[in-house]
């Protein structure tokens, strides 16, 4: 099992990172890579850049907790999560998740699970630079719904309390 978790200011190369999960081995049959890219607009308005603030220490711990849960839930052979912080301009990669498995179902499910949890549980906050100033991006209710679908039946009850 190869597990890589990195939080960094510097750009990364998603392709290079993903390839490491299947290099020099012949048990990986499926590799899923998700790359989150900075768009040039937020809603209908153009943005000049976004700045990601994070909670050092907790961000790593939250990601690690969810990577561990993904490994327990699906037969994975490798997981990579890289998330940048600081100022990012449109067209640049913000973050990536890559999952490797023998079969595609596990790789897809784990990648989606990790993305849904990163969106709603990892302590990162996006601020966008619009023409009229800097605005904190609001969390989307649809992201909470997406994360909720992964809850175990007993946890769903808990979450509803």
């Amino acid at each position: 099992m190869i597990t890589t978790i990195r939080i960094q200011r510097e750009p990364f190369d998603a392709a290079t990172e993903a390839k490491k999960l299947s290099a020099k081995r012949t048990d990986v049959g499926a590799l899923v890579t998700f790359t989150g890219i900075c768009r040039g607009n937020e809603g209908a308005e153009p943005i000049a850049a976004l700045t990601l603030e994070h909670y050092p220490g907790m961000a790593e711990a939250e990601i690690e907790r969810h990577v561990t849960e993904a490994i327990e839930r699906w037969p994975l052979l490798g997981v990579t999560v890289i998330h940048r912080h600081g100022r990012i301009v449109p067209g640049e990669d913000i973050m990536m998740v890559a999952t490797a498995s023998s079969h595609r179902e596990a790789a897809f499910a784990a990648a989606e699970f990790l993305m849904d949890y990163l969106k709603t549980r990892a302590p990162f906050w996006k601020q966008v630079e619009k023409a009229d100033g800097k605005i904190w991006v609001e969390a989307k209710a649809t992201d909470d719904v997406a994360a909720g679908r992964w809850a175990a039946p007993d946890k769903k009850h808990q979450a509803a309390e």
Binding site: Y55, M58, K119, F124, W125, W136
Partner: protein, 85 residues
């Protein structure tokens, strides 16, 4: 009891600082009670904590709910819902 408080994103901006050490008065047992007390500490805190329902908290870098006891926390963080990914 002295606890390090940390603020992120617009909570940090409204409070006007990223962190501070605070002497929490006796009788403040939960995270929610701590938010209510913080809101009474001045205009900037009142602004930051005027709608505690939208503020999330973590004790020693783990997500907690408003009803969670402060216990022996050494660091409590307040921040808006996360928007990473």
């Amino acid at each position: 009891m002295t606890i390090k408080l940390r603020y992120f994103a617009w909570v940090r901006e409204r409070v006007g600082k990223a962190e501070e050490d605070v002497e929490v008065p006796a009788g403040i047992a939960t995270v929610g009670e701590l938010m209510t007390w913080l809101a009474s500490r001045g205009e900037e805190y009142a602004h930051a904590f005027d709608n505690p329902k939208v503020i999330r908290a973590a004790i020693d870098k783990t997500h907690v709910k408003p009803q969670s006891p402060i216990g022996t926390a050494s660091e409590i963080a307040f921040f808006p819902p996360m928007t990473g990914g």
